[in-house]
């Protein structure tokens, strides 16, 4: 029920605690956190710059979240994605899903991640010893969407 796009870091534990605070109807809470790695493809990464498309980003994330809520019985959901300069080890983004049962919470979290990867307008640029390089989209990310296709949709 919430989407946040921000430059600042977030407190994963506090966000997860807030999702379930004061309620006793949630049976399963799933979280995913994306982190900046200090190396990729054999090259050291000194820093990462995350560019995004203000306005479209919020719309795209809200649409993805609404679709997840239409497909699974979610009691709470959250997407936080950062932009700007990040260093290895830092948190890039998180999603969280809450449901009475574990399968729905897991599936919805994976759905959010798969769509976010290929449909939310973020671009990563890594600073390596050879200079800056834009991260290429992975074919597997686009392919991951296929499993959520619905007949007639």
């Amino acid at each position: 029920m919430a989407v946040r796009v921000q430059r600042e870091d977030f407190d994963l534990g506090a966000e997860l605690a807030a999702l379930r605070a004061g309620r006793s109807d949630i049976g399963a809470l799933v979280s995913f956190t994306g982190l900046v790695r200090g190396a990729a493809g054999g090259a050291a990464i000194a820093a990462m710059e995350l560019e995004h498309y203000p306005g479209m980003t919020e719309r795209a994330l809200a649409a993805i979240e609404a679709e997840a809520r239409a497909r699974w019985p979610l009691q709470a959901s959250l997407i936080i994605h950062r932009y700007g300069a990040l260093t290895p080890g830092e948190q890039i983004m998180m999603v969280a899903t809450a449901s009475p049962h574990r399968q729905a919470a897991f599936e919805a979290a994976e759905f959010l991640m798969d769509y976010l990867k290929s449909r939310a307008p973020f671009w990563k640029k890594e600073a390596t010893p050879e200079g800056g390089r834009w991260v290429d989209a992975r074919d597997t990310d686009e392919a991951a969407l296929a499993r959520w296709a619905r007949p007639g949709a």
Partner: protein
């Protein structure tokens, strides 16, 4: 019609600007791309490989065949890599 054309990631870097306001009679995204490419230079380079370019019309993903009628903002960018 007047369009704001936005560029992100390596398209922004290649074009050398995050956006430009243009007057165009292009009927579709493909027409607009042809018009921009015809300028040559950075624009021609940026659109040399359309398989690596995505487009959004008024902040919604679209196809290159989509009509531009009524559109205010066109954005070009590479495949997304968030998450």
């Amino acid at each position: 019609m007047t369009l704001d054309v936005l560029y992100f990631a390596w398209l922004r870097e290649r074009i050398g600007a995050p956006s430009e306001r243009i007057e165009t009679g292009a009927a579709t995204v493909a027409d607009l791309v042809a018009e921009l490419s015809a300028r040559g230079g950075p624009h021609a380079e940026a659109f040399a490989n359309l398989a690596a370019v995505r487009v959004a019309l008024d902040q919604e993903l679209a196809d290159f065949t989509a009509p531009l009628a009524g559109v205010r903002e066109v954005a070009f960018f590479p495949p997304m890599t968030g998450g």
